[in-house]
Subunit: 430 residues, 2 copies
């Protein structure tokens, strides 16, 4: 394809007229499609419904150590659920894991909230401090940024690279500023780019020397087993083990869940950390909860059994998801490859494709799509305060629509990209 | 029975020698029994296991309004669960109800935590204030007091009466002290006394004129349908409706759950309040959670169907619990009636019997029981900071043991009461 950059003003003008006509026709088709969130498709949920038959009125409801899952008791997860979630997260010892309720987001929120009201291992509660800051590698996950914003924590953007956050920036900031108390990370198949932190990045994280003793890495390992391919899978070092080795055992809080393994909202979620960190968490849990839903933990353990069971299950998910990712990537390549107006990532796992438009164009593209009936994640959502300074990043979530819907939606998306980009180029040349 | 008070020193001495011998023999029997918490018995759980068959791989997972309960979506409870929990709590409009996770304790904790970090409808966050106080009707529920203590909130004890808290004291304190921000209430079959607030008490609550605009009543309606008898059931006015009528719609947060209806830890929990209060809560929930476990909400709604279904189910629970309460009360009456050394409540519902020993005796009685193998709720636990100023109150939880175990345990308990009381009377006469 000839680069749009090489077109003359007249050619651009002509192209623009043609694209406007196409867009008008597309609008008239009356799409109604939501590509805004990373939701599993109904077909993914359908193929795993036998998990609902695992527990019945005639089941044994005792854990391996004899606890009746139907009654009170057990604060931090049944032993076999700790083992399963430790294996899933690649954490060596189940003792370093606490299994909670239905969402890792809630554990993250609770953890920040606890730091606000009670501090971290004896530190001043953050709500008593004049200023608390978090580093936010971006583009990143909007719900992370929403938590920190909710608690009035100042967010500092750190650039992302294919190896993870810019570690020079992270090290410099963390070691020099006592008010920096945390950093948000999605280390594997990152949201939205699908990048996986390199071994070198993980080791630099584990070796951080923060100015603040109560600094913590918030390590959201949301897509830890969410591969798209059987070969060509990303590998991530175990941060809990690396922090131990580096002599910084308390430096990290790791989170994960089965939201996109079993059911969003109907899954189980876990946190991994050092004994000291988990003991402090348990002190709060004693006050905060009567314990997690042990029946659902038991259901998950009996169904998945072990890491191999989880991986086998995720291969079935991948069979449904892979063609969708590939369909989007194929349209992007065919329609925009070489046009010089966009870049995108080609993830090997996770739930998103990250798209980079020309500067100042992301918001307009998302608006154009919505006007024609295709809802994308709001432009800017992948940055702190919802503000993408270059206005370039768009998060594509290809999992929910059917392949046919997805093809139509991506056709519309590239049309909008072309339309907005030619307008931008015409302005440049004006 | 002749009152112990009328015995001569010699008679008391003789009785004491005999009781010591009996206690020695009892200790040698080597009991191992836990009567410390309000836990359902295994037989209660066994008889309801068909709830686990309600959802299976072939079920329809759509709510009445078409939401797929297996995927993301719905922040504050599926509509039919709101309806069920509203009916259970006696709240008129399901719109005034939010259905959350597996425990009302967690909703209470989250609510206090949110008040600490974000205030109430625009008020200063409580963590920014020099002093925050809660009123604590006592004897009361230890886990309420644990939440307020955890957040450094000062607790002020208010006496309980058979009609509810001493409302003269409540009105005087609440109207005069801006730092008083809340009060803990268990309004029906109260923990531990089994008292139900009278209509007059509820109306006085609804008509409170607090000095603090951000004062809230924390109304833990934990035992709302937990009757022991089909006739002779306590009736409680709907506090949400009464607050509305009194022109104080935002004054109350009401909580309840199915922990002791379906499964402790495997149930569903709800909060009822005004639209303004719930809107503020939902603003937090958007950040805090991806939504509750809709599958478990659906399971509960499909199983219980409606209030009549809930009540029918609770009658089956009562059939198991009633004989246990009656067995304890019979032993207490036979062994201690007229002895002048103890009083106790005779609840018509809930999970506890409240026992009043002679002044300064509760702790010793509980210690004696534990030494002989019967664990009761710690003496003092029913008061703020675990300090019963008179050292008289003991909470008896008769639900978990079998009737046979319970008879043996109560025999041991009354023996310990007699032994410690004769010692106290001997000291008085010394």
């Amino acid at each position: 394809m000839k680069s749009y950059r090489d077109l003359s003003r007249e050619e651009l003008q002509q192209l623009h007229t043609q694209l406007e006509q196409e867009y008008k026709e597309a609008r008239e088709k009356g799409f109604r499609l939501d590509m805004s969130r990373g939701k599993p498709a109904a077909s993914q949920l359908d193929m795993q419904m036998d998990i609902m038959d695992v527990l019945s009125s005639s089941s044994d409801y005792k854990t391996e150590d004899g606890t009746d899952c139907r009654n009170y008791g057990v604060l931090d997860g049944i032993p076999e659920a700790k083992k399963l979630m430790a294996d899933m997260m690649g954490v060596e010892r189940p003792d370093n894991v606490v299994v909670c309720g239905n969402a890792s987001l809630t554990i993250m929120y609770d953890t920040v909230s606890r730091c606000m009201t009670h501090g971290v291992l004896g530190s001043t509660p953050w709500c008593r401090l004049d200023k608390v800051k978090f580093l936010c590698p971006a583009p990143g996950y909007d719900r992370h940024f929403a938590i920190t914003q909710h608690f009035g924590i100042e967010m500092i953007t750190v650039p992302m690279t294919p190896e993870g956050p810019d570690m020079d920036a992270v090290e410099r900031l963390v070691s020099s500023d006592q008010s920096i108390k945390g950093i948000w990370c999605v280390p594997k198949y990152s949201n939205p780019q699908g990048y996986t932190y390199s071994d070198r990045t993980v080791k630099r994280f584990a070796a951080l020397k923060p100015a603040a003793k109560d600094f913590r890495i918030f390590w959201d390992n949301a897509y830890v087993i969410h591969h798209l391919y059987e070969e060509d899978q990303a590998e991530l070092l175990d941060i809990v083990g690396e922090c131990e080795k580096a002599g910084n055992p308390d430096l990290v809080f790791e989170f994960s869940s089965t939201s996109k393994v079993s059911f969003p909202g109907g899954g189980i979620a876990a946190m991994a950390a050092s004994k000291a960190n988990l003991d402090e968490m348990r002190k709060s849990l004693t006050i905060q909860t009567i314990g997690p839903d042990k029946l659902n933990q038991l259901r998950h353990v009996r169904y998945f059994k072990n890491l191999e069971g989880l991986n086998r299950h995720m291969r079935r998910h991948a069979q449904i998801m892979r063609p969708k990712f590939e369909a989007v990537l194929r349209v992007l390549e065919e329609e925009l490859g070489g046009a010089g107006i966009a870049q995108w990532t080609e993830p090997k796992g996770g739930y998103f494709i990250s798209f980079e438009a020309m500067e100042g164009c992301a918001k307009k593209i998302v608006d154009k799509c919505r006007e024609a009936g295709v809802v994308l994640t709001g432009a800017g959502a992948t940055f702190p305060y919802g503000m993408d300074p270059q206005d370039t990043n768009i998060r594509l979530a290809p999992t929910l629509p059917s392949p046919e819907e997805l093809a139509a939606a991506t056709d519309l998306f590239v049309l909008c990209v072309k339309l907005v980009s030619t307008e931008a180029l015409l302005e440049e040349k004006a």
